[in-house]
Amino acid sequence: MNLLVGIDIQPIDEVESSLKTFGSRYRRLLFTDRELETCGDNSTTSSRLAARFAAKEAVLKILDIQDVVPSWRSIEVGGISDCRPEIILYDVAAELARLQGIRDVFVSLARSGDAAVATVVASAWSQSEGVSP
């Protein structure tokens, strides 16, 4: 088994600025319906979306991406709160993870006044270990 680690940091003010400038186009390009519902539309929305964007980028860092790049919406941060988030992969992201033998993906989110951080850890099993991808 191999452990894969990805980390990313996202300035919250950049997300806030993007929300103001591009509105729903920005939201719909990057985030799933469930993520948008979870993050709501209030004073914490920017920081929570920033944490989710950081998580998506952290996941992209552990995937062996060749020609086809997963969309941001194919990587979802689920869970009701930021305390126990989970990563759910769809479409291209899910297929890349399957090919790499990735079985479990864990994520931790953190937010400060200025930035949001996400760390992702995944376990990848090879076929020789008796677990087919």
Partner: protein
Amino acid sequence: MSAIDDRIREVLKEHGRLPIEVGSLRDDDDLYEHGLTSHASVNVMLALEDVFDVEFPDVLLRKGTFQSIAAIRSALVSLGVEVS
């Protein structure tokens, strides 16, 4: 320099959050090596859609599309934007 290049550089200046002067960039300079982040590239793409009245299809939503000014120009031309 063509009109399309001028407008691309304006978008980069306004939305790219690059730590260097956009005017100092050559057409083939790697924008990511010069500080373009993934998040900033999202803003650049959305701004380009507004400025050029185009929509980037999923196939162009990849890092290479925004790797350089030349790459952005090529993508826009592929979407029907005229160079002059």
